[in-house]
Amino acid sequence: MTRAEKIRDKLRREKLRWSKIYTFNCARANPELIDFANPFNGLQGPGFSRKVQCNQPSLHRRKPLHYPSNYISTTKYNIITFLPKAIFEQFRRVANLYFLLAAVLSLTPIAPFSAVSMIAPLAFVVGLSMAKEAVEDWRRFMQDMKVNKRKVSIHKGDGNFYYKKWHKIFVGDVVKVEKDHFFPADLLLLSSSYEDGICYVETMNLDGETNLKVKRALDVTLHFDEDKTFKDFYATIRCEDPNPSLYTFVGNLEYEKQVCSLDPNQILLRDSKLRNTSYIYGVVIFTGHDSKVMQNSTESPSKRSSIEKKMDYIIYILFTLLVLISLISSIGYAVYTKFGMRNWWYLQPENASTLYNPLMPALSGIFHLVTALIMYGYLIPVSLYVSIEVVKVLQAMFINQDIQMYDEDTGKPAEARTSNLNEELGQVDTILSDKTGTLTCNQMDFLKCSIAGVSYGVGSSEVEIAAAKHIASEFSGSPGHNCFPADYWDNNVDDSSVIQLEDGITCKVVKDPKPKIKGFSFEDDRLMQGNWVKEPSRGTLQMFFRVLAVCHTAIPEHDEENGTFTYEAESPDEGAFLVAAREFGFEFFKRTQSSVFIRESYPNPLEREFKILNLLEFNSKRKRMSVIVRDDSGQIILFCKGADSIIFDRLSKNGKMYEADTMKHLNEFGEAGLRTLALAYKVLDESEYSTWNAEFLRAKTAIGLDRDAQLEQVADLMERELVLIGATAVEDKLQKGVPQCIDKLAQAGLKIWLLTGDKMETAVNIGLLRLGLKQISISTMNTDFLDQDAKKAFLSCLEQNIKDNILLQITNASRMVKLEKDPHAAFALIIDGKALSYALEDDMKHHFLGLAVDCASVICCRVSPKQKALVTRLVKEGTGKTTLAIGDGANDVGMIQEADIGVGISGVEGMQFPALYQQGPKNLFFDWSRIIAWTANGLYSSIVVFFINISIFYDQAFQSEGQTADMAAMGTTMFTCIIWAVNLQIALTMSHFTWIQHLFVWGSVSTWYLFLFGYGFMSPVISGNAFHILIESLGPAPIYWITTFLVAAACNLPYFAHLSYQRLFYPLDHHVIQEIKYFKKDLTDEQMWTRERSKARQETKIGFTARVDAKIRQLKGKLQKKTSNLFNPPKHEINLPPPCIYSTANLAFSRQNFIASPNLHQVETPLPLHLEMKVKN
């Protein structure tokens, strides 16, 4: 056998018919053959014009079937459009437009300045900005090219496949995509390495969901499972036109006179990834910008920061001022020209041109208006934008250079992709974060479990470690050390810690000597190394491990190198369970079409086969997964795992033995920030099973719309009367640094919205929410639960009903929030994608926003990328505040682009001191009163400069040689005064002098003298009036220097007095802190410093710290109980009620999620509202 054949053989062996195993995922009624007489039913007319000739891409390079290639471009410009477009961009700025006009006018005699002095600065400013744009666009181009040049295997004819670059793919190409590769375009799945043509797809980049999705090819194309078979493959696809909807697809495939309808199940979208499948074959349907993901991307807006927008306002105001001043001056000019100038014979008024004609004063006045507009144009700073731009580029450089933002693991420094928005970072009010992979690593770690009412696992979650450290440090009595909650994460959580709070306050942080197993951090000698056999409840334990090992949909992969098995699981939780089962001695090592094989090591090594009779897999509706197996003794058992609330509802009377204990443990796990699942089983007797199975088969083969509902109903029947075994707790490790940062941001008073594609439970359970937060849940009730008649009856007005219902939910919730008396109560709003789509409609979104801003945190689950962008826009426009979006995948692009600031995660810098940040969103440093005050200061300075100078250089000699001051001497002195005044002003506003500040402040001043000196030395043709001005006339005159000194001091006196007054008597926070730091008070009075540091944090109800605080309360409560039990009579307990109860109560409360019903007849008022009303009445 050749090597290739061997591989193929191996691949054949792994061909599993998953479609036969799955109950719901691959559910498909018989291949729908469409009525051949009218095959294009619904696929004609506008919107459905696409026709794809499979395997004949050449047909698609010409009209009429020409479609764009797979080349993508996200650049703003290309070589041809750059100049016009970039220039247009530049002159969109009002100030630049004004200066352009001034530059054009400077070519006429109207201009007061020479053309060069007008055009040169403008050209410099515009050129610099354009160069910046060009560089940034070039970077985008390189990024695109990287994607375009990825390679994929393409059918080139005669059954041969070659690698080709992505951008050379055309519609109709047959491509072969290998495992863990991205799909280059939107494809129709033809076949896969699995015999029945299914494949697993990870769509994290599209919708953020981490669970793998199953796609299944049509039966008619299944036999194209080898390169050679494509030699004579011809088919035609008719389908919808490119559109952004990720979850729909309408089309049909004509193949060999058969017409089969296509649905999203066969469509593989660009930017999703092939997982757990060796390879697939597919036909390209949508390429490049036609693909769904590209259609989803909103046009990248050219972002302008709010400061820039505000600056435009200031420019408008200045321009108004300029026009006003010019108008006054021109009127004065016209009056003078009319009445004065005719007597000024030295101007020869009788020969005057129109510019100065006393006979036409109005016309002259108008001309003068133009002149004045240009002359006083210094009011509008030409360098304003460019200075800000230079500052921003430098800031971006600092961000990129920041070692603290460098990621050692990937070797990537921070990258500020656009420097336009740096200053906005200081003004963020609302953060919208994508959850998956952004806040957590999405790597599950099996940490604890509760079996038979006993809690196992001594390892601690991050939250517990932090809380324990806090308490330990508090008791060790060193207040400055580690007791500031923000320092929790300063201690690396990689250390495994042992905290034995049950025995008092001992906190040991021990380095783990053992090599860590990925996905498994469980530690407990009672269960490890087969010790579980010695436990009293060994039977339950065994059952527990079997559930872990059997109840899943994973495939084992043998790792040749170290002989162990790794698992390809649909979700990381499942992977963690299997690793855990393996470590406990229940190694899952083989899956066949009908069986799962487990190698059990304890008590005696043996291999067991579990015949899979049925698999009722997990989906978000069911929130549970079951397998029905026949073990080697012939017994039929149902293993079930699922959300605790679901499982607890399905327990049999005698299956509730451990319910209370397990519940308690689940709450503890939840407190510790862990994700929990409950496990249960049920032993079936043969007859019971066969009755059920018959019914199940009937439902499975049923044809019709209600097949799914029937299946679910039947499955539901089986998953009852369960026996609870226990619960698992896995930790989704928080990503290093990021949640801490978000935590700090929350302390700084920022609002955090979570927008995630994940299901509700996952989203809520992340370590971001404090338990006990009151949850308001808004969702659409699933219409599937309605009986058929009701469904039909309300089908017409269903939409409206759902909408009304959601509106009702929102208003009810708003009322509840308003009625809340407890100032510490915090609400979390949880809304799912479906409800959100209604809530985002124009007439509803303001109600929704109103409710959302009252809540401490908002979580939107199962949202599409488009919705993410819409929510972001709603927040941005509805609240008018600066928004920051954090995300990591392509599914976040819309949101990132929509937000004022987008952050792609690699690491976000933490804030120095959150409280000071609060000054930023409050816009303390950029408000109108400040702007006006500074303007007034400027006005004062200019008056001082002007009048002091003209009074000093009035008419007398200005030096001992007797010469009087001419225009040049007076002007130069004035300008010298300005230079000093401005630079002193800058120096005064600075709180921080490094050599750079010194260099630029004092350098500016000396440059002026150097310029004066150098320019004065040039030929008088160039220098004109400035010729020898410093060395001959001004320099030797003491009055020149004395005047400068006087004016500089007089200009800055009021500001300095104001500054001193404010700092001495009304200091701002940063002043006080600067003083504390300066006098090292933070070192001498640590207690004060610590106290203030913790006070500075805004109390948060969300975030890691909030969780830690809750844990601390709990631990302290336990401690109190213990100590009080030891030393005091129990009545003291009243002082500190055990938080355990407190949180349980809250948990119970929070479970009363509002349930919405689209049925008008039975709109349920949510339970908490009933309570609320009663209390009120």
Partner: protein
Amino acid sequence: MKNDTGISAARPSAGSGDGNAARRNSNRPKYSRFTQQELPACKPILTPQWVISVFTLIGVIFIPIGVVALLASNDVVEIVDRYEIACVPPNMTHDKIGYIQNPSISKTCTRKLKVPKDMDKPIYVYYQLDNFYQNHRRYVKSRNDQQLRDASKANETSGCDPEKTTADGMPIVPCGLIAWSLFNDTYSFNRGNGEAMIVNKKDISWKSDRDHKFGSDVYPKNFQNGALIGGGKLDPKLSEQEDLIVWMRTAALPTFRKLYGRIDVDLKENDIITVALENNYNTYSFGGKKKLVLSTTTWLGGRNSFLGIAYLSVGGLCFFLSTAFTVVSLVKPRTIGDPSYLSWNRNPASQ
């Protein structure tokens, strides 16, 4: 992919994730105190002591300067004589313009000045014009520096409108309104005893103007030849026409003095000086004053008490402020670095 806003960092791009260590380190930003913004910095804190001492210091420096400047200004002896009205013959006071424009009427006029205090040489002689807009845009621009500097550029008259050329198109040197309107009153001085005082008109202009801006080989051409006669006429060689050079340095304000000459004689208090002047220049059209000024100078120049007063005022203000700050910080002291001034301590309700 439209991913231009910064998500690339998270994208699993080929290579960089699992590249070798050397490659990784090459991406690592280089440490420098500058790029990490850790430069040693001086962070001055405005403590009351600082504020009070700064204000006191400014006061201490400014008041002596003010006193010295005021003394210097007072040391200057200045004689100012307004003569444009007195020099009109009594029969012409109703038609001053007619008087000044009539060449047949003699413009000679005699003025007697009394020296109020001893005046040490050199005594500078100025003429002062009032309501004369040498700073008018049309006026300021109406000249051509190249022509003044270089004899070969005599035809260069751009910018000289409307005094560019004569009626027959010949270029005027020096062209332009400034030169055309040259001040042409003349003064000669006699002491009470009849002894003439020589007015030295040499070196009254800036040296750089004489040497570099007015060419030694440039001669007037077609100057004051047209129908309109402006001001004074010129003798040959521009660089020796110091009156013109001084005049061409346009003044910044409508009231200005220009140096006429220097008298190198000491004058005694109560000396009487007789001034014989030619009242040629027309200021009657625009109602401008003409004054003759004799003044000594000090190191600070001529007489102007403004500088001294300004220094005294600013210095005084600083003393006042320093006193005020002292009083307020004694009455209502604030400990530096007092945490009770932090916003969250001042306003507990906001928590």
